[in-house]
């Protein structure tokens, strides 16, 4: 059976400033306390990953990912227009962050 489809407003843009790996995140909420603008709220389920609530207020300071104590639990995710670009000087090939 298909998943339930909710009637929702458009998703805020950008919406995913960090990607959280639910298999690794221990729900310690260090990121919730670190973020100066409350991008996250704690998950009602204790030990579960936090919820990204105010994604569009993120100023991309990166403190949540920098201070996350669990390796691999949180990956910083630049929005598409902000993904940095660079060039290999020798080959001239331009790359961009995935």
């Amino acid at each position: 059976m298909a998943d339930k489809v909710f009637a929702l407003p458009n998703v805020q843009t950008p919406s995913v400033p960090v990607k959280i790996n639910p298999d690794k995140c221990i729900g310690c909420n260090t990121c919730v306390e670190t973020c100066q603008i409350d991008v996250f709220i704690p998950n009602p389920k204790k030990g579960a990953p936090p919820i990204i609530l105010h994604a569009e207020e993120c100023w991309y300071c990166g403190c949540c990912a920098t201070d996350c104590p669990t390796p691999g639990a949180m990956e910083f995710n630049w929005p598409l227009p902000l993904k940095p670009r660079w060039r290999n000087k020798e080959t001239g090939v331009v790359s961009q962050l995935k």
Binding site: T13, C35, Q36, I51, C58, Y60, C61, T66
Partner: protein, 648 residues
Amino acid sequence: MGTWHDYLKAAGTPPEWPYPIKYGEETEVETDVLVLGGGIAGCWAAISAARNGVKVALFEKGDVRRSGAGGPGCDHWCNVPANPLSRVDPDEWAIEMINALGDYSNGIGIEIQCREDYDTLLEMEQMGGKIRDDKDEFVGAEGRDPETKLMFSPRYGAKAGYGAHPDWRKPGFNPPEKRNNVVIRIWGSTFKPILKRECKKLGVQIFDRVMATSLLNENGKQGARVVGATGINGRTGEFIIARAKATIIATAGSGQLWNIDMEHGGYSYMYSRNENGDGSVMAFKAGATITMREGSHPFGIASGLKHKWYTGGGDASYENVPIVDANNVKLDLVTQGWADAGAMNSPDLLQAVRDGVESGKFELPMFGDFAGMKPEESNATWNLMLNEESTTKIMVKTMTEGGFDHTRDQIMNYSFIEMQSPPQYYDAPRGGGILHDWNLKTTLDGLYAAGTAVFSPEDHSFAASTGRYAGRKAAAYAKTVELGEVCREQIAKEKERVLAPAMRSEGIEWKELHNGLCRVMQYYVSQYKTERLYNLALEEIARIEENAVPQLYALDPHKLMRSLETLSAIESAKIIIYAQKERKLSSPKLGINRLDYPEPDEEELKKYLLMHLENDEVVFERIPIRFWGNMKEQYEAHNQDYTGVYKG
């Protein structure tokens, strides 16, 4: 995984607000010194006051651990002429700095910075902050002193200020033995959590997630002694009343008044939304004198719907990185590096490159040529400076993980693709702030200011050293007075104002209100300025206040905090317009281009325009620039009891 709709899909219902809702509830606090704002200046103020033996409480809108512009980090400790390897005298350097910064700089703050910045840095080290290359990671980089392992930056190497030295293109310019050595590279990403730890160790009562909303005057009288402040918790909505013998405003500058897109404000703007200039507005409403609010400038370093500053090769803090064009032809620009003694590019140098693009001399896009640098310098720029400076730390991490190699690659530069900002996009006058004396006391008894809250503030170490200074001065004052009488009527009125948006569930939300205000600023207070345009702006703001503000609604305490910031932004906008109207002149330095008063009026420009409220009416005054007198003598007269680096 992790988004709101992920949760909804899994749980079948939206999450409930995770914090207890406490609208209407109050907490009352009594303290000796109250600090508003827990960024760099606020933390230093709190620590310094506590070390001087008084009880301290601190309100911080975010969490002190990483809040403020300096939360993520900082790579330069500027103006440290008192360090042992400096080649300049601190008092003489302070004069050179204010000369370089030009009229309207803050001579009191600069003198404090020059005198006490090195002591402040050593105290940072005492607490555990990293200020030396003690692991020998950057051996071979220029500016590294092998004995002290301090690392100097090329900034201000040959002269004060950011402008290029007239001789910068001459061979042998800026040899190591002649450099000023006044700016030290630091590992600033370590600092903020340490400052919070120290605050806690000293017993500072920290109120995280509490936004200050107003100052309390003795007996509720505007202009009377400040005897405390009110705040609101952005998670619970609880109202906090603090009574204090002295209050220090250490809040951020105002921003984003012309930036109409609140969905994208965070990713193109240099500062976080929390930095809204609330402190200056609060001080003004309490009757304190503010100044320098008439300036405004086209978006420059703080961007504006362009790339986030620091993410393009060649942005600030890319010391020593040369910019090359698509064909690896080096542009004739300074690099903020050793070759040019840390100079930043001037408008004429940048214009010459733009002309070169149009004539075909240079081909787009440009790149920051890390691969073309001496490896030790490339390493120091990438792994020390960018890895420690604010929002670039995460850039270094993600780009390195994504395959960027600073020894092989070049980072794309965006400034020449984006070209200049549209003329209607301006930035709030960050130089605007609270007037203070040599004790960093404002014009109101009981009220002190530090960091970005003061007029014409400077950088991270300015915030640190003025915060530390204000802390000890406020503590000294607090020891001489009793708690003042608050006015319950003033508190009740403020509580009603603060909670009003939370009592409504429909109408206009904060983003629409903010954007409406920005449109006023874009249309009437941007490139061209006239009395008629100013009056139209004030009329339109009056309509916003009459029609939109009473409809402002907030569905939870977080949105309530943003709503209150927006109300504060409306006050900031009015203050800017009042001040510009009063200055009937044009001045590139102030960013005022009045078509109806095109002349500069040199006499008027030699004065600061001061403004304060009396019975809610704006009163203007003028004082001469450099009103602070002889900086060395004044500093010494006010600091005979200064004991230097903290000894525990």
